[in-house]
Symmetry: C2
Subunit: 319 residues, 2 copies
């Protein structure tokens, strides 16, 4: 092993970013890299929008809007107001400060920079020292199969407020996509000492990352501890549509069902599954899926909660 | 002739828009169409920006910022501020309200609409009843040949504040571009009863329009009065680099030189050339170029000035 031992955290948006923030507070910046889902990314009003990357950037730079649960603190909305007056598309709310991020990104991408490089540049300018690695520099787009037909992810998630009933998901472009070269370099560096799967949506945040060609197998081959945190506690998702999706897919809405999903698609990949104390009664059933089960309070409200869960996860990952 | 007789005004940005506003105040909306230069248009930060079209839209909707001389009245600048904090490109100042226009346009273009159709949509939403016709739905880009090399127009005009010395201009893409189908339809309709060339920059505003393949010849073939207004008065341009360009191109800086430029490139096209009263002494020399010369006060400060010049021009065009 050369250089600093690193924890690689796999994250979608809000829920994952909370644990990432906890981890960032417990580890030196060079000891953490966050591998972020980009299958929610989309081109909107000419701009390249990367919701999960931005949630990480805004959360880790301490600028996220905690009351809204997305976007930036102290945001203003003049552009949206003017766009609304023009009868433009305003279902995806882009704040004035947030827009600057998208303009900056879109300009750099148009100049030929990779998303990885652009993200590094944004992180640097926002004072985020933790490495934020987009899963791929290639375009991958989540398609939601639903009773209203196939929907682009943000149309399902934001425009239709997750109301359509889902029957499955596919990731357009994933067969042709490669993990980003920065990610592959990290995996080849021998530096990754543990992997954390944050409490993100298994279907639309974690799956697109792990289903990049060869990626989960490559991570598994590192033979380092892989610890996943359930995004479902007491039969509910803290935020987002994970619970609703499980139900619509005909599965039980439980932490166990999440682990079953992971063990079905990525057999043997996860070593330890962290469930909430409210789900302690499920521990034996989850263990029957062939993982160690660790029970703790997984609800992250305060920064203290996030740090405590991060410490717990790190201890289970041998840190 | 079928339908309403129309005046077709050819315009670039600010100077042209002033006379267009005067014309719009003197004519019924359906009796005026403004043919606008699009060779200044560029893609910036992912957005399609059409400075001359927007100047017309903002001026004719009464929303233009008169103190700045560009952009919108009551504009706010939050996005630029945030972009500046990111170290982004802020040399082209995009106000928050102005950005909404560019986002709206870029989204519609991305959805496959033509620039003509998008412009019609914007005009409608801004309450502009006068037809605003982009010269082409194809991309044409002015390249400024200068002592600093070849510069994209906005780099010369805004970023470099017209400081480089020019040696000529070319219009990339013009050979492959067609006049917009709406423009061609109007020219074929038999409705155009007069043509006004607004006091816009001859080199970078009027030339790209008239040099679209076949366009000026097609307009000339209508055999309707063509009246041009000099953008140079008393050896100066009211605004913009027309005077500086004339000097750098080795020409006299005068209304006469402008008319000479027009008669060299578009022989026989212009019937009447309107010069400022301060240039009355040039009248005979200008007339020697083979046009009728009309002398009046061409400086447009107030709306009354614009209306008065519009009436003068219309009377010379047989209205």
């Amino acid at each position: 092993m050369t250089g600093t031992a690193k924890v690689l955290a796999i994250s979608g948006g809000v829920g994952g970013a909370k644990l990432a923030l906890g981890l960032a507070n417990e580890l030196e910046p060079e000891a953490l890299a966050v591998l972020v889902n980009t299958a929610d990314d989309f081109r909107h009003l000419g701009l390249q929008i990367c919701p999960d990357i931005d949630t990480l950037l805004y959360t880790l730079s301490g600028r996220s809007n905690r009351s809204l649960g997305w976007g930036l603190e102290g945001e203003s909305w003049q552009v949206m107001k003017a766009l609304e007056e023009l009868g433009g598309e305003t279902w995806f709310r882009l704040g004035d400060n947030d827009l600057a991020t998208h303009l900056w990104r879109t300009a750099r991408l148009a100049a030929g920079e990779s998303l990885s490089s652009v993200t590094r540049g944004l992180a640097q300018r926002m004072g985020v020292k933790v490495g934020i690695l987009p899963m791929s520099d290639d375009s991958v787009s989540t398609v939601v199969h639903s009773d209203e037909g196939d929907l682009a992810f943000q149309h399902y998630f934001v425009r239709r407020q997750c109301e359509p009933q889902v029957s499955g998901f596919s990731f357009r472009g994933i067969e042709q996509a490669s993990p980003s070269s920065e990610l592959l370099q990290l995996l080849d560096s021998g530096q990754v000492a543990a992997v954390v799967i944050c409490p993100s949506n298994p279907f639309v945040s974690v799956d697109p990352v792990l289903q990049l060609p060869g990626l989960w197998q490559k991570i598994a081959a590192l033979q380092v501890p892989v610890v996943a945190v359930s995004p479902i506690l007491a039969g509910q998702a803290v935020k987002g549509p994970a619970a609703k999706m499980l139900g619509e897919l005909g599965q039980e809405v439980s932490a166990e069902a999440v682990m079953r999903h992971y063990s079905t698609h990525y057999p043997g990949f996860i070593d330890t599954f962290v469930i909430d104390q409210s789900d302690a009664a499920l521990a034996d059933q989850v263990a029957d899926l062939g993982v160690s089960v660790a029970v703790t309070d997984t609800l992250m409200k305060s920064l203290d909660d996030k740090r405590r869960l991060a410490r717990f996860v790190l201890s289970r990952a041998g840190h």
